[in-house]
Each structure stands twice: as C-alpha cells, then as structure tokens.
Subunit: 207 residues, 2 copies
DNA sequence: ATGTTAATCAACGGGTAGTCCGTTTCGCTA
DNA sequence: TAGCGAAACGGACTACCCGTTGATTAACAT
C-alpha cells in the first residue's frame, strides 16, 4: 500500500518528491515564462533526478494541472449557494462592493503567487480558461437563480462573456500592475461599472 | 538593388517565397494550434527549402509577427480621428450601435481568418495583447478627448482595462462560436451593456 | 529484519532547431 | 541576350531537449 484511503500518498519519499517538484515549478514560474522552463530546470532546482520526475508526471503541464486543481476548486466554491453571493448589492451609496467580487479578489490576493503565474507567466491559456469558465459559471448561476420576471435585455451568452471577460481582464491587469489597489477597492470599482455601465462610469450622461 | 524605395522587395523570387510561406503558415494555423506547427511543416506546404525560410525569418514567430503587422495596423487606424468614432451614441432607442464597436466588428469579420488564428489558435498571447492594447488605446483617446467637465467615477486605468478586456472577451467568444451573430448585432449588444451596465442588462433594476 | 518500492545514475534513440556551405537556378540589367 | 549577382536548393552538422530504460542504491512500511 503506497497511498492512504483518501487519495494522498503516504510514503514519505513520494510526498517529499512531489512537494519539492511542485515548489520548484512555482518558484521557477515566478522568474520566467512557463514555456521556457525545462523539466531539467525543475528537477535541478528540486534536487530530484529527472527520471524521478517522469515517474510522477507526464510533463510539466500535467504537474501544473495538479497544482492548479486545488486552487481552482476553491475558486469554484465561491459560487456555491452557501456563500450567499447570488444577488448584486444595489446600494445607492456606491460604497458597497458586490459580495462576489469582494470574495473573488480576496481569494486572488490570498493565492497571489499561483494566479500571477497562470495569468501573466503561462502563454498556454488552458488554466486561465478554466478560471474564466469558473467566473462565467458564477454569473450564470446568479442570472438563472434570479426572479423569472427579470428579463434579459441582451442575449445570455453575450452577457456572460462580457461579465466574465471584463472581470478576467481587470484581474490580469491588477496582477501585472503589482496590485496597487486593494481587493476591496477593486471589487468596488467593478461593482460601480456594473451598476453604472461603462459610458456613465467614464463620465457621459446617458441621453 | 533588391528592394524598392518603399520597403517592399522587388525581386520576384523574394516576393514569391514570402507569399508562399505566409500563406502556408495561415493555412496550417487554421488546421492546428500554432505551437504544433513546425518550420518544416511551413516550408513543406510552401514548397520552399527550409534554409530559405531561415534566410527570411528567424522563426515562425517572426513570420507571424510580419503577417500581423498589416492587420493590426489597420485595426489601430479605426481609432484615428478621421473616423469620427470618438463619442458613444446615446440614442434612447437602444438600436444604434456605438460606431467604434460597429467598425471594430466589421473589421474583424473582414479579416476573420487572421483574427481567428490569433484569438483561438495561438497560445502565445503577444499578438492578442497587441490587439487588446489597440482597443484600449481607442478608449483612452475617447476619454481624454471628451469634455473636461466629464468626471470619471472610476480610475482611468481600471476603466480602460474593463472596457478593452470585455470587448476582447466577447470577440474571442464570437469567433469560438463561429460568429452566429452579425457584426452589427454584436456591436449593438456591447453598446447596450455599456449604456445600461451589466446589472441592468441582466434584468436587475438598480436601487 | 525483511520484502517492497522509490529514487538514482547513466545512457540511448528520436526529433526539432538553427546553421553552414557548395551548387544550381533564377531574375535583373546592361 | 549575355552575364553578373542574388536567391534558392540540397544536404549535412551540431546542439538541445525530450522521454524511456535497466541496473543499482537507498528509504520506507510492517
């Protein structure tokens, strides 16, 4: 028996190797683009033999996938009903952020290293696509769980693409600019634009 | 003398080779991800010797860059003053698309092959980043050329990130879904969300 | 203590990227 | 149209990285 009943390996050598390799990849990915990282680099930094790496993972992509699972599943949980984030706030004081945006940015800040890597270091978009899909899924749940009387003024798919990609884009920039704004501030700004619309937010008065 | 005064090569062999190689890359890129395309593939499809390729381009990335220059420069010109696209429409009938959005989607439709490649086939994001930057630049010009009385209700950088990334995201999806909507329709929907804000567009009445 | 399994070490084949150079073909121009 | 120069060809070569294998050593679990 080399693994406990709940999935995780129990042999200390395995735990040690996987941890070393994971840390090595994250460490390297903060220094240079993911595409330039060689399996050789990973194993050298981890002080692990290259063939040992291949005994655990097919390639660096599978390794990154494994690392990502944990984080992205936590991200998906932000959309769960028990979080009570389903409805936007609509406070007229313009100082109360949408609770989902707030929870989202706080989660991102708490896992900055990981998200910075997948958003700014990986040219392969599969992981950021999963992140986008998770955010899109949240808005889908919010819309479909709203009162049926509410009528969409724009097709659902376009609305979801718009909401999820605007969030992703501002998030990516937020990391690229080294998070000069706090999670609360970012959530508030996204809330304001969502309430006002882009034109009004930029100062135009709608006719 | 191997090139005319205005940059373009004049020797028919050069013109022929570059055209063959460009066409081959675009053709291959519609069939499989850019990362899987080998220089060997390109030269074989172009019926050109591999060493000839290296006489013209450093690698497939430089070749793609050269192809992109022409298209992306046309995209950037949509933001030029002479287009008169600077102000959003604000028709209350909700049937008049923002002229920039309309010009944008029409340009994309006219160059579908190219944009489909850089948005859905290339994992390297450098070209889509340039596209994003071009759209972002337009909104920057629109905002800064507006009346100074107009006061931003959200920081400029966040506003620009929001506007440009929401446009990019919906565009990418538009291609992924094989353009089931017309350019005019897409432009109109983006205009509506920009006027109403995301919350109202999804049916909520702002408090 | 012992059997089992992981990790190590060294080496190999396969494939692609670039480069190089001698030869051939082609196009411009006089 | 003849000939010069540039471009394209063909083939080979190095370098690098990948993924795998087999024999050996070390560490773990019981």
């Amino acid at each position: 028996m080399t693994s406990s009943r709940l999935g995780g390996p129990t042999d200390r050598r395995i735990v040690r190797t996987q941890q070393l390799v994971r840390d090595a990849l994250l460490s390297l990915a903060t220094e240079k683009p993911f595409s330039e990282i060689l399996v050789r680099d990973i194993t050298e930094r981890a002080n692990v033999n290259r063939s040992t790496f291949y005994a655990h993972y097919q390639d660096k992509f599978e390794l990154m996938d494994k690392i990502a699972e944990e984080k992205l599943s936590a991200l998906g949980k932000l959309a769960s009903p028990e979080y009570g984030l389903s409805a936007p706030p609509f406070q007229t004081d313009f100082e109360t952020p949408d609770p989902y945006f707030l929870a989202l940015f706080e989660h991102l800040a708490e896992n900055e290293t990981f998200y910075r890597i997948i958003l700014t270091r990986m040219q392969d978009s599969s992981l950021s696509d999963r992140m986008l899909e998770s955010i899109r899924e949240f808005f889908y749940l919010r819309i479909t769980s709203a009162q049926p009387s509410q009528k969409l003024l724009v097709p659902l798919d376009i609305l979801l693409d718009y909401a999820s990609s605007s969030a992703m884009g501002t998030i990516r920039r937020w990391f690229e600019q080294n998070r000069i704004y706090s999670p609360h501030y970012m959530a508030l700004q996204l809330t304001r634009i969502s309430e006002l619309g882009f034109y009004r937010a930029m100062g135009y008065e709608a006719g």
